[in-house]
Amino acid sequence: MTAATFSPRVSPIAGLRHSMTLAWRTLVQIKHNPAELIDFSIQPIMFLVLFTYVFGGAISGNTGDYLTFALPGIIVQNALFATLNTGMGLSTDLQKGVFDRLRSLPIARFAPLAGRIVSDIVKQSWALALLLGLGVVLGFRIGTDVPSAISGYLLVLVCSLGFSWLAVLVGMLAANPEKVQIFGFVVMFPLTFTSNAFVPTATMPGWLQAWAKVNPVTILADAVRGLWVTGGGSGPALQSLLWAAALTAVFAPLAVRAFKRRT
């Protein structure tokens, strides 16, 4: 597309306002579509409770120790899965023609995309707080200080934003929302499970251990464990930020290009 279609006639402040209106739209949808609430509330709760009480004893000897180990991993896994919603939402809007309507309005070109991303960060924060809160009820304890706890929280949000660019790209390239979901099963499932998010990697075959060690999910889970439980964690936190930056650097331009092409 040439520059003319994206001429900067709309001021950045107006663009921000458009993005917020569209973010509001996505959040209001929840009110009328309770299924979505289940997606990002009940599903993480199920994961947390099932993993803790079904696998916890077998993996860590007792559920308390397992919860301490696994809660950061489950939070990371949930955050990555939730990024798929960004891709699915965009894909749905494309398919239903909502984007055509929005783009025929005098609004900033980036607003539909930005609005979706902003609202999904709000949803992510909610799911994160919910999981952490439930974890505390089940016996999880923050072993570090408040600044570290907050850093861990923000780190997960920043990294999920990095991953969400991949989801945006998939959402733009997929013919329909179902295809985005298939991508989730084929890529996100193996990605989160071949890490130390749920189990220590010691019993995995050597080749898988080698991968699990460098898997960004492992690194992020370790960073959150460090920041919330064991102290330290600045090393993996830094690596996670680098991952998020790399993902953004690679996928954001591709996603924005695909977005411009499709819309």
Binding site: T5, W24, D100
Partner: protein, 321 residues
């Protein structure tokens, strides 16, 4: 004087397919242009280009004198688009959909609320205002979609197949709503697959096929060109054909065509209903009792047969987006 919507030589290709192949069109202020054509003719592509959603490969186009390619944002401020697929948010209520659009136009909360309620009222959606759109019928969605295009009261409106897929009653409802807009002085470009719809709503019609205009004119001119209504009479037997043909010649505007095999007589007429009554009276007086007699209104298929020699169903290319 430049027309409100003006386009010259628009070309848009998708690989081998020339979706638009040098389309020209011009819509004077306060008039309605009907873009008539079958699926895949390029109607949607033309609307998407005129509404800034798609860039043509070449061609020049202006809306109210503003260059669409150079100043798309300025064009977006003065147009409303109502698309083929009722682009409303399923999970918002009708009210919320309109409020959102008002907010995107920088209306204050109060203004957006008032405008939304006003439009809901005008499109008889007030009762359904607080229900999510996914519970709406097809006709209600289209009405809401059109209401969405009118939030900022744009002087120029584009409607892509506003009644495709609607039942006859909802279609009539949409026609009323559209006619009302036109009375208020809105300049309108609408696409349709139905000759009847273009006839009803448009001041001028462009028939397009394979991305180019193949005929153009007022509905009357077009009907004259393709043959307007005709009277179709089926008789019991060969014996009555000659008398019936003479009667039909009397009520028609041209020479009747006779099919002696099926005992059918066709004749072009200017106005179907009076011709039908006259024909029935005379046939009755002559003691002829027809098997069937009816007024046939030309369809898009007839237009195509006449203009291109092929029917609309010959097409294999689907409308591309």
């Amino acid at each position: 004087m430049t027309a409100t919507i003006q386009a010259e030589g628009i070309v848009k290709t998708y690989g081998q397919l020339r979706a638009l192949d040098g389309l020209d069109l011009s819509v004077p202020e306060g008039t309605v242009l009907g873009l008539l054509g079958p699926n895949g003719a390029g109607k949607t592509t033309a609307v998407r280009i005129l509404t800034t959603l798609l860039r043509p490969d070449s061609g020049s186009l202006t809306v109210k004198g503003i260059d669409v390619l150079k100043h798309p944002d300025d064009v977006r401020r003065i147009i409303g688009l109502s698309g083929q697929y009722a682009a409303v948010d399923e999970y918002l209520t009708g009210y919320e959909n309109l409020e959102m659009i008002g907010r995107l136009y920088h209306m204050s909360k109060r203004q957006a609320r008032e405008r939304a309620n006003e439009l809901l009222e005008r499109f008889t959606l007030t009762d359904a205002a607080s229900r999510p759109v996914k519970t709406y019928s097809g006709g209600m969605r289209r009405r809401l979609d059109l209401a969405g295009a009118l939030v900022a009261a744009p002087p120029v409106i584009f409607m892509d197949e506003p009644t495709t897929g609607l039942d006859p009653r909802s279609r009539l409802g949409m026609w009323d709503v559209i006619t009302e807009r036109v009375r208020e002085g809105t300049t309108l470009l609408l696409t349709t697959q139905y000759l009847e719809e273009a006839d009803q709503l448009a001041d001028n019609i462009i028939v397009i096929d394979h991305g180019r205009a193949i005929a153009e004119g007022t509905p009357d001119e077009l009907k004259r060109k393709v043959g307007g209504e005709r009277l179709e009479l089926t008789l019991r037997g060969e014996a009555e054909v000659a008398t019936a043909a003479a009667i039909m010649r009397g009520v028609g505007t041209g020479e009747p065509t006779v099919d002696s095999e099926t005992h059918q007589v066709h004749v072009p007429v200017t106005r179907g209903a009076p011709a039908l009554i006259a024909a029935i009276r005379e046939l009755d007086a002559a003691g002829i009792e027809p098997v069937d007699i009816a007024v046939h209104r030309p369809t898009l298929d007839d237009v195509f047969m006449r203009l291109t020699g092929h029917s609309t169903e010959d097409k294999t290319t689907e409308e591309q987006k």
